[in-house]
């Protein structure tokens, strides 16, 4: 039986060829359904699949998925089938993750015609990602009249980054004309792990200085958080800035870019393809874009070792810089696939950082299995934590907060 304020939220998290989804019961945050549609839209040798979990029970369906709307339709059919057997498996509202709303939104928004119009204006800001999400929101708005939708933004958390950090040293005229500034990404994930860390340690986030390392097998970013607010993020105007990533170069001397362009007679598009899709771990290691593969080969391959060392060096640079900005961090968080899955990576990052208050308990680090865990010694000035990120859960929380604020009927 649901209480009056209990709501099932279907959270949708789009990639350019994937659709992750979860039904989360709020306010307790229980996960009812989760799954992912892969290879959406793309006709590859392997067909599109949906991996669907209901209360942990897994089903895999091979089915053509022409676009994200088709994927969602199929997912909703699966949920409807589940509902026939169990009335608890249903959803009351949609909540979407939206990548880049620019300056148009400063908080979670309930979808209506005005919001749709404003969202449409943000499509160029992330021309590959935003239109896909927008189209899905539009599809839900059209096809599921009566079901409320909320949009949660990935960049809003970084709106508090001070201008001295968010401004590039470029001509003001150019930056104003094209709205160029550091935006920062992974905001939903950084906010989630911040809240979970404070809850776990019994601390008030308003008085904590946190460095959050979202180290993924795709994109990675580090965030400096002071008193619950983002004050810096390693990603910039686009997700290309910052750390070395799976195929992205991260920070680079622009002069090197121009030199390559000149020498190879490359266009901006060809150059971007190199920086975004052929660099990073893949560029240095050459055999794979996954750092975990490089770690496996670290004793056999110089390139693997180099890729690993470079990756670590970049993370350490940001951790040290952010520790300096925060005047010593209270909490250091590792999250996402690499942050959670690689003890050797955490150990290398935290090595010799005692002068910043960062120490690691090697046993706790090695033995970490799952959930939230402190991996620093009890007397460490900075608590080092491992926290699995859950963007969908954060999206559900944000949507629920907005729902309660707007609608006393729930």
């Amino acid at each position: 039986m649901k209480s009056k304020k209990q709501v099932n939220i279907l959270v949708l998290n789009c990639g350019s060829s994937s659709l992750k989804y979860k039904i989360i019961r709020m306010p307790d945050g229980a996960e009812i359904v989760r799954g992912e549609a892969e290879r959406v839209g793309a006709k590859t040798r392997e067909s599109s699949i949906i991996t669907h979990f209901v209360f942990g029970k897994k089903t895999v369906i091979e089915t053509p998925l022409a676009d994200h709307s088709a994927a969602l339709k199929k997912v909703l059919e699966l949920i409807a089938d589940n509902e026939k057997k169990n009335k608890d498996i249903r959803f009351d509202i949609f909540a979407h993750r939206y990548v880049h709303p620019g300056m148009s939104f400063s908080k979670t928004a309930k979808v209506n015609k005005v919001v749709l119009r404003k969202l449409k204006e943000t499509l160029p800001l992330a021309a590959i990602h935003n239109p896909i999400i927008y189209k899905l929101i539009e599809f839900c708005h059209r096809s599921y009249v009566g079901i409320d939708q909320f949009v949660v933004f990935d960049t809003v958390f970084h709106k508090t980054i001070p201008p001295e950090f968010s401004t590039y040293a470029l001509p003001l005229k150019v930056m104003k004309k094209y709205h160029i500034k550091k935006i920062g990404f992974h905001g939903i994930s950084h906010k989630y792990v911040m809240e979970e860390a404070c809850k776990f340690l019994g601390k008030d986030k308003s008085f904590q200085k946190i460095i959050s390392c979202h180290l993924g097998s795709g994109g990675s970013s580090i965030c400096a958080i002071s008193n619950g607010k983002s004050v810096n993020n390693s990603m910039g105007f686009t997700p290309l800035e910052g750390l070395m990533m799976n195929t992205r170069c991260g920070d680079i001397d622009p002069g090197a870019v121009f030199y390559i362009m000149f020498k190879e007679r490359f266009s901006s598009e060809e150059t971007e393809n190199i920086l975004n899709n052929k660099s990073g771990i893949l560029g240095v290691f050459n055999s794979s874009s996954d750092l975990r593969d490089a770690i496996k080969d670290i004793d056999k391959s110089k390139q693997a070792k180099m890729a690993f060392n470079m990756y670590v060096r970049r993370v350490r640079t940001y951790v040290a810089f952010y520790a300096m900005i925060l005047k010593k961090a209270d909490i250091l968080i590792f999250t996402d696939s690499l942050g959670i899955g690689s003890p050797v990576l955490r150990k290398s990052i935290c090595k010799d950082m005692g002068f910043l208050g960062i120490n690691l308990d090697e046993e706790k680090n090695k033995e970490y299995d799952k959930g939230i865990s402190v991996i620093s010694p009890a007397d460490s000035g900075t608590k080092v934590l491992i926290i699995p990120t859950d963007e969908e859960n954060m999206i559900a929380k944000e949507a629920y907060k907005e729902l309660i604020k707007n609608d006393s009927g729930y």
């Binding site: 839209g41 022409a66 499509l123 021309a127 590959i128 239109p131 994109g219 975004n276």
Partner: protein, 405 residues
Amino acid sequence: MKELLKEKAKGLKANLNKFYKSVENFKLNSANIGEFTDIVAAEMKESSFNKITKDKAGNLIGVIEGYGNKDAVVMVSHIDMRTANQQKLEGLDANGMEGFKSGIVSSVYAGALIKRTLLPLTGDLIICCVPRVECCDFGIQYLFDDFLKSRIKKIKGVILCEPTGFNINLGHKGRMEYEIVVKGRLNRNFLENRGINMLGTMFPLINELEKVSKELPSDFNLGRSGLRIKDVRYSGYQPQDAVSEFRIVVDRVFIPEESESFILNKAKTIAKTVYKQEPDITINTLMAKERVKTYTGLESVSEKEFKPWSMESHQPFAMESLNTLTENGFKSDFGYWKKIVTEGSYTYGQLKIPTIGFGAGSEDAVSSGPNSLTADKTEKAGCGQALIVLRSIGMPTFGWSSDEI
């Protein structure tokens, strides 16, 4: 961009092949052109074009709406309005790729591909299939005088979906049809010293024109001008007739350095020189005209002329188009049509809107009958056209080309 388009193209393959076949197998003539455009319009609808409309001249227009400003790129393909009789005369196979159907398919496919990528455009993409009467650009004129009238200044470029062998074509010679009319009176001994055989009296002028055709000027890019006697007509050769008259119809291909008035004056001078001994005759030269009746019922009289045009290769729209093609694996270069005429005569020759041609196949494909082009080549042309559009009115995706953030 190439990877993104390639990925989306796979998903459209089946649709493209089906559309290509239905267009290729359609026996097109002036009587069923409306039915043909319905098939194209249905494909536009299937591909989620934002607007599909037909104007009074029979132009089919599909619009993919962009974001924000009202800039536009216009893609033009043409549909030949040949009568069944003309087809028979010119030996064109009614089942083949007459009217270069590949251009129609590739332009619609390019639009579908752009739609499929979901990439927002800064302006509108306007895809037009223009009915063309032989040697007269009535359809394109109407399109720009009507549907596109208010947008002319905001058009960043026109892509002519004509055969170019995947090159960027920048122009071609002009083509006009004119008549030399010689009038006199038999009862006043019209051409008496040559007898009253009309063919005999015409022959010296025909002969002189043939001589002139061998000495016509040439353009470095476009090639040599040409002259062909297309038809001869005569009337009033009976003694009781008040006026005798003969007309020589000339099909003239010309380069930008030659103006229409210069050509007509020169023809008049030649005729006057040939018949300078003859008293009491009048010689006139005039542009041939055609009465056009579209399948939509619109009637008009149009001069039979396509202007020559040649756009500079350093024009930004041309340069950017070539760059995007070569960056994405096309072995393209700048080129010019040597044989055919296109709507560029109007879009660049008259309106000065930056215009390029890009498509699959050679110029000979237009009249080489069925199976001269494949769906694969048409698909490649569509991909190239989509790349050109995205370079011109697409949005930058720098820093965003990875699947996840």
